[in-house]
C-alpha cells in the first residue's frame, strides 16, 4: 500500500483523536484550512471545533494554553506552523513546559505534544526554512523526535501522546510528499535510533529530511566499494548513544549529516559523543555535512547550495578514506 508521509501524519492524528477523547489538536489553521501542510484535512468535520481548535496567531499563547491543558488532564497536540514561528513560543516551551516538572519537585508533568514543520528546500527563504531542532534538543525536560519515514510519521505520535512529558515532533517539509509502501501503520518507539541500512565501512548519522540524502549517498558510495551504515537518529533528545556508538565501533568512521547550521549543532553533539564514547575505535576524524552558515536564501540554486546534498555527503565520506580510495 503506497502511503504518503502526509497521509501518515494525518492518519496518526485521526487515530489518536479517535482513540482518546482527551486528545485535542490546536494550532493555526488546523481546522477549516485543513492544516498548513494538509495534515489535518477533514478532522474538523469528524471531531468538531472543540477538539480541532483553530487558534489565533498567538504561538506563545496557544502553546502555553496547550501546556496548561496538558497539566489539567487533556492530551493536546499543538501544531506550530514552522519551527521559525515556534521561536515566539520558545518561552513557554523552555521556561514552562520543560522546567515545570523539575521546578515543582516532580509534582507536575506536562504531557504535551508539539508538532512543527522544519527544514528547507521549498524556496521559502530565511523565515520559514530553518532547522532549529537542535535548539530544542538542547533542553532537558522535553523529548525531541524527527520522523523521517512514513512509518515513523504515523508511528511516533501515539507514543508521544502516551509520554507523560513534553514531546516535540519535527516534520521536515520535504517529507510530506514522499511515499513508501507500507503494510500497516502501527505505533513505533520514541527512544531508539534506527539502522536504516547496514554497512561495514563508515557510519552515516542523519535524521529527518537528511536521512534520504544520506541513503542516496550510501547507494552511490556502494558502487565505489564503500559500504555505508546509515543511522536514522529518530530521537534527537535524548540521543540514543548506544546505537550510534555500536555502529561506529564497527565501522571506525562516522559522518554526521544535519541540515542545521554546524556551529553548536546536533551534528556537533553527535560528534562529541562519538569522540567521548568511541575515540579509540575511530580510524578517521568524525566528519559532518551541515548547512552553510547563511540565513536560507530564496533563489533555488543558492538554497540548494546552502543545504547538505548527496554529493557533499559522498565527498565527505570519500575524504575519510583519503588515499585508500
Amino acid at each position: 500500500m503506497k502511503t504518503s508521509y502526509r497521509t501518515a501524519v494525518h492518519d496518526a492524528l485521526r487515530d489518536a483523536l479517535r482513540d482518546d477523547p482527551h486528545v485535542v489538536l490546536m494550532g493555526e489553521d488546523v481546522g477549516r484550512y485543513g492544516g498548513t501542510y494538509a495534515a489535518s484535512k477533514g478532522l474538523l468535520e469528524e471531531f468538531g471545533p472543540d477538539r480541532i481548535r483553530d487558534t489565533p496567531l498567538s504561538e506563545l499563547g496557544f502553546v502555553g494554553i496547550g501546556i496548561g491543558a496538558a497539566l489539567n488532564g487533556l492530551r493536546p497536540i499543538v501544531e506550530v506552523m514552522t519551527v521559525n514561528f515556534s521561536l515566539l513560543a520558545l518561552d513557554q516551551l523552555v521556561n514552562t513546559a520543560a522546567a515545570l516538572r523539575h521546578m515543582s519537585g516532580g509534582q507536575f508533568s506536562v504531557p504535551l505534544v508539539v508538532r512543527m514543520a522544519t527544514g528547507a528546500g521549498r524556496q521559502l527563504a530565511a523565515q520559514h526554512s530553518h532547522s532549529l531542532e537542535p535548539w530544542y534538543a538542547h533542553i532537558p525536560g522535553i523529548k525531541v523526535v524527527a520522523p523521517a519515514t512514513v512509518e515513523d510519521a504515523y508511528g511516533m505520535l501515539a507514543p508521544a501522546l502516551a509520554d507523560p512529558d513534553p514531546v516535540v515532533i519535527f516534520e521536515h517539509v520535504q517529507l510530506y510528499n514522499t511515499s513508501a509502501d507500507v503494510e500497516a501503520l502501527t505505533p513505533t518507539d520514541i527512544s531508539r535510533a534506527a539502522v536504516r541500512r547496514g554497512g561495514t565501512d563508515v557510519t552515516l548519522v542523519a535524521y529527518g529530511g537528511s536521512l534520504w540524502k544520506a541513503m542516496d549517498a550510501a547507494n552511490e558510495l556502494s558502487l565505489g566499494g564503500i559500504d555505508c551504515e546509515v543511522i536514522d537518529l529518530r530521537v534527537l533528545r535524548p540521543l540514543d548513544d548506544d546505537t550510534i556508538l555500536e555502529s561506529v565501533r564497527k565501522t571506525h568512521r562516522a559522518v554526521v549529516i544535519d541540515e542545521a547550521w554546524r556551529t553548536g549543532s546536533l551534528a556537533a553533539e553527535v560528534m562529541a559523543r562519538v569522540m567521548e564514547g568511541a575515540f579509540y575505535d575511530l580510524d578517521a576524524p568524525v566528519a559532518r555535512v551541515c548547512s552553510k552558515e547563511v540565513p536560507m536564501p530564496y533563489a533555488k540554486h543558492l538554497e540548494q547550495a546552502a543545504l547538505p546534498q548527496t554529493a557533499n555527503i559522498v565527498a565527505a565520506v570519500r575524504n575519510l578514506f583519503g588515499e585508500q580510495q
Binding site: 575505535d281 580510524d283 578517521a284 575524504n319 583519503g322 585508500q324
Partner: protein, 402 residues
C-alpha cells in the same frame, strides 16, 4: 625535517643538541634524527638564536616538518608560542624541498606544513595490541594518517618476517638492528626501484692500470705512521671528484625533467653496513681537499655510518656516488644510480693482469672502473671521456695530492 634522500619520508627526533635561547651558527649540529637509514645529525643552515623547539624528542615527523624555529640575529620573539601553520592536505603528503633551500628563520622551510604524525586512535590501539611499532608503519589514510588497515598490513608483514626468523612474535621496539635493517631494506628497495624505473642507465667500463698510483702511495705511506697512511680508495675518490668537476654533466641532479648541475663536487661513498644495508654519505668538496683530509673524512664517515650517526648534509648532499667492491674480490661493479643523482662510478678489485703495453707483454696491477650514468643527462661519448679522465688522473698521482 630535512629530506636526506629521495627515499626518506620521515624521521624521528632522537635528541636536541640545542635549546631555546642558544645561539647557533651555520653548519652547527643541532639535533640527531633517527631515519630508516641511520641516526643522522641535523645541521642548521642559518645563523641565529633558537626560538622554539617545535618537535619534541621521540616524535616521528614527516619530511618538511618544521623542527625548530630560529630568530635572526637582532630579531625578537613575537609571541611565546607561535603555532605553526596548519598543514594543508596537498603539501603534507609531498616530500619537502632540500633544507639548503630553507628560508631564513627556520631549520626547515616553514612554508611546508608541520604536524604531529597522524595515527588514528583505532590504529594506535590496534598497533599496541598487535605489538606493532606504530612509528614504523607508513600511513595511507587521509593526509597520510596511519589507519587500521595500515597497521594490519604492517602486522602481517612482521608476522611473516617473524615466522621466517624467530618462532615468537616479539614486540618490535624502535631501532632494533633487525628492524632498522628491515626498514633500510625497504628504503633501498624504494630508491633503487625508482632508479631503475625512472633512470635510463648506460654502462661503460675501462681498465685502469694502478701501478703508478700504488707505487706512489706505498712510498708515501712508508714515511708515515699508521694513523697518517692513506688507502688506495682515497686516490680513486679524489680522481673521480676531480674528473667530475671537469665533466659537469655527471655531477648533479635530474629534477623536474631537467638536469641541474651541482655547484660543488660532493662524492657519495657507498658504505655497506655490518647489519646489512648500505648508505652513501657524502664527502664534501672532494676536488678541493688534500689526500690526508680525504682520508680523515673517509675514516670518520665509515665509522659514523656504522654507528648510525651521520649528519644530515652527508646524507642528502652527494652529487655523484663512488662504490668500491674491490675488497670483496669482484672484478667490476655496474651500479644503480641513487636518484636524483645522475652518475655512479664503480671500482672492482685491483689485481695483477697481463697487459700489452707498447707492443710488449707486462704484468700490471689494474682495476676495472665502470660508469653507470643517466642517459637523460649525458651521452656515452662524454661518459667515455669522463672515465678516461679518471684514468689519466690516476696515472699522475702526485697531481692528486694537492
Amino acid at each position: 625535517m630535512p629530506s636526506l634522500g629521495a627515499d626518506m619520508d620521515e624521521g624521528t627526533l632522537d635528541e636536541w643538541l640545542v635549546k631555546p635561547g642558544d645561539k647557533v651558527t651555520r653548519g652547527q649540529i643541532v639535533a640527531v634524527v633517527e631515519t630508516t637509514k641511520a641516526a643522522v645529525e641535523i645541521e642548521c643552515w642559518q645563523e641565529g638564536t633558537v626560538s622554539e623547539l617545535v618537535v619534541p624528542v621521540g616524535e616521528t615527523v614527516q619530511v618538511g616538518t618544521v623542527l625548530a624555529t630560529l630568530l635572526e640575529p637582532g630579531e625578537r620573539a613575537e609571541k611565546p608560542s607561535r603555532k605553526p601553520p596548519r598543514p594543508s592536505k596537498r603539501a603534507a603528503a609531498k616530500p619537502a624541498t632540500a633544507p639548503s633551500r630553507a628560508p631564513s628563520g627556520a631549520v626547515a622551510p616553514p612554508t611546508v606544513p608541520q604536524r604531529r604524525r597522524w595515527v588514528s586512535p583505532a590504529a594506535r590501539r590496534l598497533a599496541q595490541s598487535l605489538a606493532v611499532d606504530i612509528d614504523a608503519v607508513s600511513g595511507t589514510g587521509p593526509q597520510g594518517a596511519v589507519t587500521i588497515s595500515d597497521v594490519e598490513h604492517a602486522a602481517a608483514t612482521i608476522e611473516h618476517v617473524a615466522a621466517s626468523k624467530e618462532p615468537a612474535t616479539k614486540p618490535i621496539t624502535k631501532a632494533t638492528a633487525a628492524d632498522r635493517a628491515a626498514q633500510m631494506r625497504k628504503s633501498i628497495a624504494a630508491a633503487m626501484g625508482r632508479s631503475k624505473r625512472e633512470i635510463p642507465h648506460y654502462y661503460l667500463a675501462q681498465e685502469i692500470i694502478l701501478d703508478n698510483a700504488l707505487t706512489w702511495l706505498t712510498t708515501r705511506n712508508a714515511q708515515r705512521s699508521i694513523d697518517e697512511r692513506v688507502l688506495p680508495a682515497v686516490l680513486l675518490l679524489k680522481a673521480v671528484g676531480v674528473a667530475a668537476q671537469r665533466f659537469g654533466e655527471f655531477n648533479g641532479f635530474w629534477r623536474d625533467d631537467a638536469f641541474q648541475p651541482a655547484t660543488g663536487v660532493h662524492v657519495g661513498v657507498g658504505i655497506s653496513l655490518r647489519a646489512g644495508g648500505l648508505v652513501a654519505p657524502a664527502i664534501h668538496d672532494v676536488p678541493d681537499k688534500k689526500l690526508d683530509e680525504l682520508m680523515d673524512n673517509l675514516s670518520d664517515l665509515v665509522a659514523r655510518a656504522r654507528s648510525f650517526s651521520l649528519r644530515s648534509s652527508e646524507m642528502s648532499d652527494p652529487t655523484i656516488t663512488v662504490t668500491n667492491l674491490g675488497d670483496h674480490g669482484v672484478d667490476a661493479v655496474f651500479g644503480i644510480i641513487y636518484p636524483p643523482q645522475v652518475a655512479l662510478v664503480g671500482f672492482g678489485q685491483p689485481a695483477q693482469r697481463v697487459c700489452v703495453i707498447d707492443g710488449g707483454i707486462r704484468v700490471v696491477t689494474a682495476v676495472q672502473a665502470t660508469l653507470a650514468a643517466d642517459h637523460r643527462a649525458s651521452d656515452g661519448h662524454r661518459g667515455a671521456l669522463f672515465l678516461s679522465a679518471i684514468n689519466e688522473l690516476l696515472q699522475q698521482p702526485d697531481l692528486l695530492e694537492k
